[in-house]
Symmetry: C2
Subunit: 133 residues, 2 copies
């Protein structure tokens, strides 16, 4: 099994400040920026090597907004790419890890994803990704 | 200028749980694990693609321990590799960013590093690295 960092997601209520810092000051290339209605967020993906910094701005009162209300803006989750997400989830479940998704969900582009609860990871919300082949 | 993620640092008071999760459950290869007396921490570096997940356990009452006391265990900082850290710091300072190190410090292996205050980055403590050539 190979594992790599796919992205770091940063929760913010100020997309303009994020765009200023990551795009203008740090000079990272913007890959895409769009509203994801289903999840109630605006996202912006900045490329950093073969990974991304993802800015996430809640556009409704959802989990990302509650995260910001509780802890302030900052890193929301770490996303790791795995080869076989179903096998990884089964392995983690068998070891007693607390999963937020017991089976993978799927993005429109075919990427499968699932979250592991911070309680089982030392305080880090971890998203797993399996990219479409 | 190219920028890539060098590592994600996770603050913890329980290195055993971190080693269990990242090493045993997720299966990431351990590159090194050691006490850094000067900084009052024990660190463990797990390889994830061409980046690392770095576990940091305070062994005295320092900034990492205060972070855990305040926010709980979890992601402490994001480290980005840059080509020219002095130029990046000068550029950030000119733009009014709050730097924790105005000039780079140096690790024994020659890596230059400096931190940017979360106030200027949308809540993320960012470390910059320039690797030795």
């Amino acid at each position: 099994m190979t594992i790599k960092i796919n992205h770091i997601a940063i929760a913010t209520n100020d997309m303009g400040a994020g765009v200023h810092f990551w795009g203008e000051l740090m000079g990272l290339p913007l890959d895409k920026k769009r509203i994801v209605e289903d999840e109630g967020v605006e996202v912006a993906y900045y490329r950093a090597g073969d990974a991304h910094v993802e800015l996430v701005r809640p556009i409704e009162d959802n989990g990302v907004q509650r995260f910001i209300d509780k802890r302030g803006a900052g890193i929301h989750h770490l996303c790791l790419e795995v080869d076989d997400i179903a096998a990884t989830l089964a392995h983690l479940a068998q070891a007693g890890a607390r999963l937020l998704n017991e089976t993978p969900k799927q993005h429109p582009d075919g990427t499968q994803f699932a979250f592991i609860h911070p309680q089982s990871t030392g305080g880090v919300l971890i998203e797993l990704y399996q990219l479409p082949t």
